[in-house]
């Protein structure tokens, strides 16, 4: 009993250490760090590994694109434009109360509801490449890892949540809210996993993961909730103004 308690306290203490030292520093670059793994962080083997994980999903998304653009001639412009919109949304500063500064939403949940998860992965891979090449944001070596966390995990969790909750017969606003929320948290969890796997060095993977997760709780928890509101609110806006456009975009999506 006592042993467990000390052990746990150790973990908590470590976490607090990190939170206290890093937390203040993180407040500034949180937006960049929490979502995008920066160029150069991952060792080569891990970079390759995440590329290998990401590629099949991108390929599958491209197959989806080919199939759907055969039926609908304007599908590619549509995906491109929705991609541009989501890219911009993910650049919009969103005020996160706990961080004291602005952070950025991911937008993958929203995109997945609009155009489906497969295409969201494609769009995310493009957005990440553009950011890596033209903004030095994210990176080429970490592109695979970023596609997995931001694209694959974010999109499939968001889309899955939306479908499941709709299937349960619950209102779509709730579905969209949870899709946004969970996709954001899942992205952040996955990013932490990737970082922990690469950085734990001699320490145990789970301890490192806990640390990284905890370090970003103060910004990511509220950000996820905001992202939930964003997803539901934006969808509500589109549904009330241009439902017909939503239907067209959603052939295969979920909305």
């Amino acid at each position: 009993m006592n042993g467990i308690w000390t052990k746990r306290r150790n973990v908590i203490r470590r976490a607090a250490t990190v939170a206290a030292t890093a937390g203040t520093l993180i407040a500034l670059p949180a937006q960049a760090f929490a979502m995008h793994i920066s160029e150069g962080i991952l060792p080569a083997p891990w970079a390759l590994f995440w590329y290998a994980v990401a590629l099949p999903f991108v390929a599958w998304g491209l197959r989806d694109l080919r199939r759907r653009s055969e039926d609908l001639l304007w599908f590619k412009p549509l995906v491109g434009l929705v991609g541009a919109a989501v890219f911009l949304i993910s650049c919009m500063p969103i005020p996160v109360p706990t961080a004291g500064t602005c952070s950025h939403p991911a937008g993958t949940g929203l995109a997945a509801i609009l155009i489906g998860p497969g295409l969201t992965v494609v769009v995310a891979s493009i957005a990440l490449t553009l950011q890596a090449l033209f903004l030095a944001h994210g990176g080429l070596t970490t592109l695979g890892a970023n596609i997995v966390s931001m694209g694959v995990v974010g999109a499939y969790v968001g889309y899955g949540t939306y479908r499941i909750i709709r299937r349960l017969g619950l209102p779509w606003v709730m579905a969209a809210f949870l899709a946004g929320l969970l996709s954001d948290w899942a992205t952040y969890a996955m990013t932490s996993v990737e970082l922990a796997a690469a950085l734990h060095g001699g320490e145990s993977f789970s301890a490192m993961l806990t640390l990284i997760l905890l370090a970003f709780v103060p910004t990511q928890v509220p950000l996820g909730i905001l992202e939930g509101f964003l997803c539901a609110g934006a969808l509500k806006f589109v549904r009330s103004r241009k439902p017909e456009l939503l239907r067209m975009a959603a052939a295969g999506g979920a909305a």
């Binding site: 520093l25 929705v82 919109a85 493009i126 609110g233």
Partner: protein, 259 residues
């Protein structure tokens, strides 16, 4: 808000912008691999110095450099701190703060510094690439590397319309701000979701119009690409010498000097 995309420098004429983008991309990749696999901090720092030097010679405003490097720099700081205090065994120094004991460890510090060097070196490579190569040249180069056409087509459309939508979105946000849409937290969130929704609507409408315009110019579902010129002699020479240079530097800095 969106002044991130200042690609104006990529359209300047200088020695680096004139190099074929395929060569530049390959060189950058080689440099990245060298940096990421480096076991010592010398090579990444040398790359960093080289890139920053080039950036300075090209007279890129310090503001832009700072803006692009700010995020990676702070990440480096966080990483060094985490690694120093969390990993490793040999204690370096310790202090107590607010009742907690902090112990810095030698291995951790080394690890952290190396990681920091990796990040700085790698980011500077991409940064340099990004200010000497316009987007359309990169797209051309990617075609040469056999990237999926569909992926490229979407990428080209996305890239182009990010600029168009950006103007609209900036106006939308300004209009909200001018009517005090962001003066309280709850209101800010509402305005923000409205803004996101409006962006989506604009994008969907724009997609329709763009497709109409494409169709009227013969679009049948695939964007046509022009031919790619073969890699010129000069560019091949640059490519090969740079690759050799990187290899030699790697050999020297990683294995060459004793230790």
């Amino acid at each position: 808000m969106f002044d991130l995309f200042s690609d104006i420098f990529t359209y300047r004429d200088n020695a680096l912008t004139r190099i074929d983008p395929r060569a530049k991309l390959l060189i950058a990749l080689a440099a990245l691999i060298a940096v990421v696999t480096a076991e010592r901090i010398v090579l990444p720092l040398a790359v960093l110095a080289f890139c920053l030097g080039a950036v300075a010679i090209l007279r890129i405003p310090a503001k832009l450099v700072a803006c692009r490097l700010a995020a990676p720099l702070s990440i480096v700081a966080v990483l060094v701190v985490i690694q120093t205090f969390v990993t490793g065994k040999t204690p370096l120094f310790a202090f107590t703060f607010a009742g907690w004991q902090f112990t810095a460890k030698a291995e951790g510090l080394r690890q952290g510094t190396l990681l920091g060097a990796h990040v700085l070196g790698a980011v500077s490579v991409v940064f340099l690439l990004s200010i000497v190569t316009p987007a359309h040249r990169i797209f051309q180069a990617l075609r040469w590397f056999r990237i999926s056409r569909n992926w490229l087509e979407i990428a080209i459309l996305m890239y182009r319309y990010i600029f168009v939508l950006m103007d609209r979105v900036a106006d939308l946000a300004a209009a909200q701000r001018l009517r005090l849409g962001y003066t309280a937290r709850g209101r800010a969130l509402r305005s923000f979701t409205t803004l996101a929704g409006a962006t989506i609507i604009h994008s969907l409408e724009q997609a329709q119009r763009t497709h109409d315009a494409m169709r009227l110019r013969g679009y049948r579902g695939t964007m046509p690409f022009g031919p790619l010129p073969p890699l010129g002699r000069r560019d091949r020479l640059i490519l090969v010498s740079c690759l050799i240079g990187i290899a030699v530097a790697y050999g020297l800095l990683e294995w060459g000097v004793s230790g």
